[in-house]
Symmetry: C2
Subunit: 351 residues, 2 copies
């Protein structure tokens, strides 16, 4: 084999949820928002065609200022990237350079071990308990860094704020990264803890509650010295990542807090109704505070149900991962979409 | 110092050209295109607001298919990223994992050493000759990979195709990356060599000739097995990088080849006229085949002229780098913008 082929970096890539595209499909597989983004996006997109000829502002000033205003932090505490995946990848690359392993739950966002392998970061996983909850004391002993989503994915379970603070209290020497991708659907943000803990980074995204998965905008909030370090690495990788369209869209979306509240309230209401319906159909699930439910059925096999739903163009997510092979992750869609799911399940029988 | 602060990755970031924003300014400092992008962009942006709620196609199919169609290659030979910087960063990370140093010119795109430091890639630079030309034989001996722009930046000099082929002939074991960011302004693309050399990657961008610096779209063309390796690393970093807006904008732009030809012809005509004017004002410069000129003056000091231009809101680029400290890189703007520059220079005198 040629030398240049031998030198190719070996990776086991993340497998994103499939993106089928049938006109009649019900897409509940990638935790997208069923409602369109803020109507202010349309106006933001007007007149940006000609500005495409210029490089975007590498500091993403207008967007970062809008985020700082809404979350009542300084602009120097904000870092934005091409979706929260980009932000998390930059965090892993910037901060997780210890010889001690970083630590995260065994069942969590599937990208964490992928970044560890890509950047050659040692890691260890700590099992969720039998109720799929994070056990705070698992994170008390020495480590190279900590990362977990809150609410966790794909379980949807939120860790109470006092547990998060306990983890921070035991880790003054470690960076603690809380991935709040789903926080707007009912969890409690660790944002107030930023004032007490300089080793805390909070990651959020425009992809879920703000209906902007297609714009690729994520951000994190933390102490200015952590944010500077992220900017230095970002500028060493690609100086201009957030494009003109995303700067315009993201800024308009961030400032439309009324719309965010209106649509998240609708999704929360649909989620609670879905819990009742699925319970009556024989499903059990943790108490999700996110825009998805993580369900298992008393009788039906998850993989067979997944396949049957798929054949009927209802897409949900099944993970071929130990401990959760008999679970499905179902994104909360519109009431109408969920009704179609319920009708299917009412008539479903394993053959 | 806390352990987590000690572990922060140390980098010397790339410093992008400044992005001033005065209404009357003449911005000739970052090689942007003075003309707006294809008028088809406006139509492409219509109606994309609601699609923002969905993740973009991670395979960038419509965009990659348009690129494949225009360059008459297979879609499996196309990889797209968030600007050519993202594509190049992925290439460095994916392929430059040898213990032998990679090789590039001493005077070239300033990002190459930055990526080497970020990814801990050993590298060595080979000096351009006294005419600022790449010397092909410098790249014949064993190495961990080769990368250079063609035309080179900031010189604007194009390497003839037979020299590129010579380098490829001497490097069957190395990956050879040709960064053709400025190729549409008069250089000859190495594209036909893809049929003969499986170790060749050609990088291009939408930022210059297609007036889409603000959309952040770059791509590379090469053998499918190299493209697969890039996709694997990309999917391990951030699965969804090209957002919905860029997919729509990029596809429309790529297919509008008439507009590309029309605007690049205009820029080439302005460049040739600028060469005459600047020569008559006492400047000398290599024979640029790009959308910028790399000029030095027989009498005037480059840094002082740069400062004087800047005070008058005419922005060009000066590099504080040995060998080229008495040079300025001037982007080709509209004829009107260049006339303003000429008038300033006609009245300029060092004090």
């Amino acid at each position: 084999m040629k030398r240049y082929l031998q030198n190719i970096r070996k990776v086991v890539p993340y497998v994103p949820g499939e993106q089928p595209n049938f006109p009649d499909m019900i897409k509940l597989n990638t935790n997208e928002n069923p409602y369109p983004p803020s109507p202010k996006i349309q106006a933001a997109l007007q007149g940006i065609a000609d500005s495409q000829r210029l490089y975007p502002d590498p500091t993403s000033h207008t967007l970062n200022a809008a985020i700082a205003q809404v979350y009542q932090v300084e602009e120097s505490q904000v870092f934005t990237g091409v979706g929260s995946d980009d932000v998390l990848a930059m965090i892993f690359q910037t901060f997780f350079n210890d010889t001690l392993p970083i630590r995260f739950p065994d069942i969590t966002y599937a990208f964490y071990p992928v970044w560890c392998r890509l950047f050659q970061i040692p890691y260890e996983t700590k099992p969720l308990n039998d109720n799929f909850e994070i056990v705070p004391s698992d994170y008390f002993s020495e480590n190279g860094g900590i990362v977990f989503p809150n609410p966790n994915a794909p379980t949807g379970i939120a860790l109470p704020m006092n547990s998060i603070e306990e983890i921070l209290q035991h880790n003054p020497d470690s960076l603690v990264v809380i991935d709040e991708a789903y926080i707007d659907f009912g969890g409690t943000s660790a944002l107030p803890l930023l004032q007490k803990y300089e080793n805390l980074l909070i990651v959020q995204t425009f992809s879920k509650s703000r209906s902007l998965a297609g714009s690729r905008i994520g951000f994190c909030l933390g102490a200015p010295k952590l944010i500077w370090a992220l900017h230095d690495v970002k500028y060493s990788f690609n100086s201009y990542t957030i494009n003109q369209a995303s700067l315009a869209i993201g800024t308009a979306s961030m400032l439309d807090t009324d719309y965010l509240e209106k649509t998240t309230r609708k999704i929360i209401a649909t989620r609670e109704r879905t819990k009742q319906q699925l319970a009556s159909l024989g499903f059990t699930f943790p108490n999700s505070k996110s825009n998805f439910l993580f369900v298992t059925h008393t009788v039906w096999n998850a993989k067979r149900l997944y396949d049957a739903l798929r054949e009927n163009h209802i897409y949900v997510r099944w993970f071929n991962i130990p401990r959760i092979q008999n679970y499905l992750r179902i994104t909360i869609g519109t009431d109408e979409q969920m009704d179609t799911l319920f009708r299917f399940l009412e008539n479903y029988s394993e053959t």
